[in-house]
Symmetry: C2
Subunit: 79 residues, 2 copies
């Protein structure tokens, strides 16, 4: 199983991407975790360490994949 973490911040762009993509990975191959920074601000550091610059974003196998643009990590930290 490959670990896939979907980071978001509750924004409209995030929610749409969550519904269309985050739950769409093959459950036989991916262990998907959804992280909302509004609920889990303690996860911001790990996301940034993985290269996440904006949300929504996936980190799959340690690599960041930014999906469209909802908010920058600076916005997230300032919220």
């Amino acid at each position: 199983m490959t670990k896939a973490i979907f980071y978001h911040a509750g924004c409209n762009v995030c929610v749409d991407a969550e519904q269309q993509l985050a739950y769409s990975l093959d459950p036989k191959r991916f262990d998907v975790e959804i992280v909302n920074f509004a609920d889990a601000p303690g996860r911001i550091r790990e996301a940034e360490a993985a290269g996440v610059k904006s949300v929504p974003a996936f980190v799959i196998g340690g690599q960041p994949y930014h999906i469209n643009f909802g908010a920058s990590m600076a916005d997230v930290k300032g919220a």
Copy 2:
């Protein structure tokens, strides 16, 4: 089945996203098509009509999801 089209242009960012995401959707729920504009320039118009501004990008259920940034559609058309 939901139609999911992954558009790319052969760039490094595209190839990585293709390997990590395009083939990762649940095959029970998604009918995935991979389109390389280098091979299929005739597909550029439909991608732009769906809202694709850069590659790599998914169009899932008619909605565009840009993944990181490889090249703009202007770059693709100028190539």
